[in-house]
Symmetry: C2
Subunit: 383 residues, 2 copies
């Protein structure tokens, strides 16, 4: 199988490198924006790839929506398989691309878009197809934020220093806002929902990142016997899809607490199989590229799609998702919500009774619009 | 796809139950040893299944080698797919059954034989086929022993009480010797080696179970900051296959330390993908049955074999696997080996320098043959 690659950045170069050595694969041309005399396999015109009858599959590794979407459509229309690691593209245009793949009898797969090296989406799909009723999806789906949270809690460094280290190590991009805000995590769970439930949540998700987390929060939480992780969750209950991401206090000794540095954990719970958790590196050149090669191997075995063309775009609703929250806020701003107060004074710390996710996120956003500095995190019980 | 089941015990009934509800599957006849007027779908003559042209696949859920092997051969020769959860059968006769499947153009899969609900072998196979070079296999592959170790260390119960509870909960069989001795774990890693390296280790493995572990050991280890787990490991280094199972001290906070009760963890480390760990329940009726259904789903997608007919039987050799060991032994029996001594007197406790796995297992077996009571465990460093 001869495989062309669009883009020669972190993922693109990784895939091209692996293709050179992988048995049964052949590294084809690579599309670059500008002439690359140093790369004999580089081309600047996508048509050279599209009209090449020896190219069987094309990897989209440009990122973003445009021109990734236009190029992706052309690839499928030219009768070649399309594989991407671009979660933004799939979250925005997944059903359209799946439809186009089906019309042209080719494959459209995107394992690498969720969980990096972790074979999450492919295992989810197999579980669903084998009759498993998936009752819950959850995970630590962003390596950048996990790295920052872990460094802050393990090495007691400040947020800014942990972020700088993440950037130095290549875990965080120059503009890390999509990671830090939780957007990257929510896009990944959107894909998992599409694969699992044939429903792609496009609004109504509650999204909280880690930018409010401080060293003092880390210390207080540790003393309570918890570790803070950024957890993303989704489930389908009575035709309503719930999907959200938020800082979450996980008990010391839990699997989540053992996910260190840029690690990811992606779990699904099925009625028969119970909870299955997959752990691995969430990002990185060859880790992500390894997921692309797994997709290509699956295409060789006849696999065509991960989401169906009729995948519905739906509005998520987290009003009935209830749990306890840890809160840190200025005095008197959250008193009514707290069941247990750990600290009062200029700063209040405590834990609420069970509250709905959408209420909590809305309440904190309201406080922030008034200029208050608030941190909140779901509290998980030990399993 | 209509599926017959041989045996109606824990796994057999689980599979039959799931088949009734799973879309696209049909529950066929079940083979029982004796007449079962209460089960309208039960038959006592396997020929009734073999000659039934509507049966596409047969699940072997009898256990043991005979008659499972004879029946399995007949199933494949009759042109029907064979799926089994029987690790003893595959460890003994896997290549022969794979060969027979190939000759008859049908499938022979056995995901459920390693890791219970965890999709370990199938992911390993996909990783290998996608060009991943697997540098290490490791895991906590036995739920019974993990349950006992966890209860002893978390709840401070005695070995015998933890075992009795495991039996009450259905985690341990009436005769738990294969679990406790490490044999069950080693059979599972044998299958993983066959899938990964096309080599089935049949002797030379070093096998140590958990029967020497005491409450006092648990307490001492806890104070050192470790948790004891029964870990099974394998790797292929310069054409030599290493494979062994032994109690292992894992640092508090490690993923292993978070595997509680009857949980399993199955990991592989690839050159590109890094370390991938899969966690789930290692045993149980519907968890194991869910793996069988996943295999059936893969057969629907055209998958045929997990090991190749030319899989070689080899002798494992752990002479070059080196690590430090924790030791508890009567005084003066292990003094020369210890680099650090924690306790001396009637009982000596300490940690050795790096020692080869085969030396250590041989040394302790020699001491035991002289009547000495010894506990040993590999010491893992924090990642």
């Amino acid at each position: 199988m001869k495989v062309a690659v669009l883009g020669y950045g972190t993922v693109g170069k990784g895939v091209h490198d692996l293709l050179i050595d992988a048995p049964g694969f052949e590294a084809g041309p690579v599309l670059e924006k500008e002439e690359r005399p140093d790369l004999p396999f580089a081309v600047t015109d996508i048509d050279l790839i599209l009209i090449d009858p020896t190219v069987d599959a094309v990897i989209e590794a440009i990122g973003g929506i445009d021109p990734a979407y236009t190029f992706g459509k052309k690839v499928l229309e030219s009768g070649k398989h399309l594989v991407t690691s671009n979660k933004m593209l799939v979250a925005a245009k997944g059903p359209e691309l799946a439809s186009l793949a089906e019309q042209n009898g080719v494959a459209f797969l995107f394992s690498a878009a969720c969980g990096g090296a972790i074979p999450y989406l492919s295992n989810l799909q197999t579980a669903v197809n084998s009759g498993e009723e998936i009752v819950r999806l959850q995970g630590i789906l962003n390596g950048t934020t996990n790295y920052i949270l872990d460094r802050m809690q393990t090495d007691c460094v400040e947020f800014a220093d942990a972020l700088a280290d993440a950037q130095k190590l290549g875990y965080a991009e120059a503009d890390p806002s999509a990671d830090l805000s939780g957007m990257d995590s929510i896009r990944k769970i959107m894909l998992a929902c599409a694969v699992t439930y044939n429903e792609l949540p496009v609004d109504g998700m509650d999204i909280e990142g880690i930018t409010s987390f401080t060293r003092e929060d880390a210390e207080h939480i540790k003393n309570l016997g918890y570790v803070c992780r950024l957890k993303t969750k989704a489930k389908l209950v009575e035709n309503t899809l719930r999907a959200y991401v938020e800082p979450t206090l996980c008990p010391l000794g839990s699997i989540e607490s053992s996910i260190r540095l840029n690690g990811n954990m992606a779990s699904y719970t099925g009625n028969s199989c119970g909870m299955i958790s997959l752990i691995g590196e969430g990002a990185g050149r060859y880790t992500t590229a390894s997921s692309v090669l797994r997709d290509l191997e699956q295409i060789r075995r006849g696999k065509k799609i991960m989401i169906r063309p009729d995948c519905r775009r739906v509005t998520a609703n987290n009003e009935d998702s209830m749990h306890r929250y840890y809160l840190r806020a200025p005095e008197h701003t959250v008193d009514d919500l707290l069941l247990t107060v750990y600290e009062s004074g200029k700063i209040t710390r405590g834990v609420t009774d069970k509250i709905s996710v959408s209420f909590m996120h809305g309440f904190v956003n309201e406080l922030r619009s008034q200029g208050y500095d608030v941190f909140f995190a779901a509290v998980e019980r030990a399993h």
